[in-house]
Amino acid sequence: MAKKYRALKRKPVSEAVKVYRVVRVESIAVGIDVLAGEFASHRAADCLPSGREQKFPILQDGLSGFRTEVLARRRWRGMRKNATQHDEVEVEKGSFIAELELKPGQDFYIEDLGESGGHLTIWGNPTKLAEAVRRIDPARNAEEEGS
């Protein structure tokens, strides 16, 4: 029997919304061109498609983000555990969290399946996404810095 995947819920951004993404760069000051490199789609990043992505190939044209900063940090901690588990010193995707404010009319789309981890798929032009970044902070919490 064919596996059933959750239906695609890709929707245009219809009102201003803040989303969060793990990035490698530590500051907006690096410039739009460098920042835009942090918003490559899964397809551009050569990620292997999972079953659902094969069913809905457009998912590969999106990139990952999170509903809240807290959930982005939480997932980043998992990524760090994963890196440690695989004997890697750094989280490959970066150690900073970018806050983006997506506004309507910019051809941004989001899929939020309501997953507890707050994962989103975001679609948008990388340069426009870079321009939507409002701030970038370390993914590591202040209390962890001290530990």
């Binding site: 990043a45 292997l48 079953g51 990524m79 555990k81 399946l113 997953e115 507890s116 994962h119």
Partner: protein
């Protein structure tokens, strides 16, 4: 509870209401594209959306699956080998009740050699 497969990039690949379904999906993904689940981790969330416990690694879960499959097959083979002998000889602690004989000899038991099995 909610079970989420996240890859090494933090991307959610799938999420499920049951752990069994999550592991079944892992098997399917790995079968369809061997190696795709490398670095995936299984995150568990309670009904309030709070993360529960530590991540479980796909590699480890698949390894456990392999061991379970091997033991299951081994048990089947053990039954086949020990069963007829148990009925015919009726001797020995591991065959008295027609129980399977473990592949690795348990304390005080002896694993049948192929010759014994055929001859016995």
């Amino acid at each position: 509870m909610e079970y989420v497969w996240s890859d090494r990039d933090g991307r959610t690949r799938e999420f499920f209401d049951s752990r069994d379904d999550a592991i079944e999906a892992l098997r399917e993904e790995e079968k369809a594209q061997p190696g795709i689940t490398a670095g995936w981790m299984l995150l568990t969330y309670d009904d309030d959306g709070e993360e529960v416990g530590d991540p479980e690694w796909a590699e480890e879960l698949l390894r456990q699956e392999t061991v379970v499959s091997f033991v299951t097959v081994a048990e089947g083979v053990g039954l086949f080998v020990a069963g007829p002998r148990a009925e015919s000889s009726g001797s020995g602690p591991s065959t008295r009740h027609g129980f399977r004989r473990p592949l690795s000899a348990a304390k005080g038991t002896r694993v049948l050699s192929e010759a014994e099995t055929v001859a016995g």
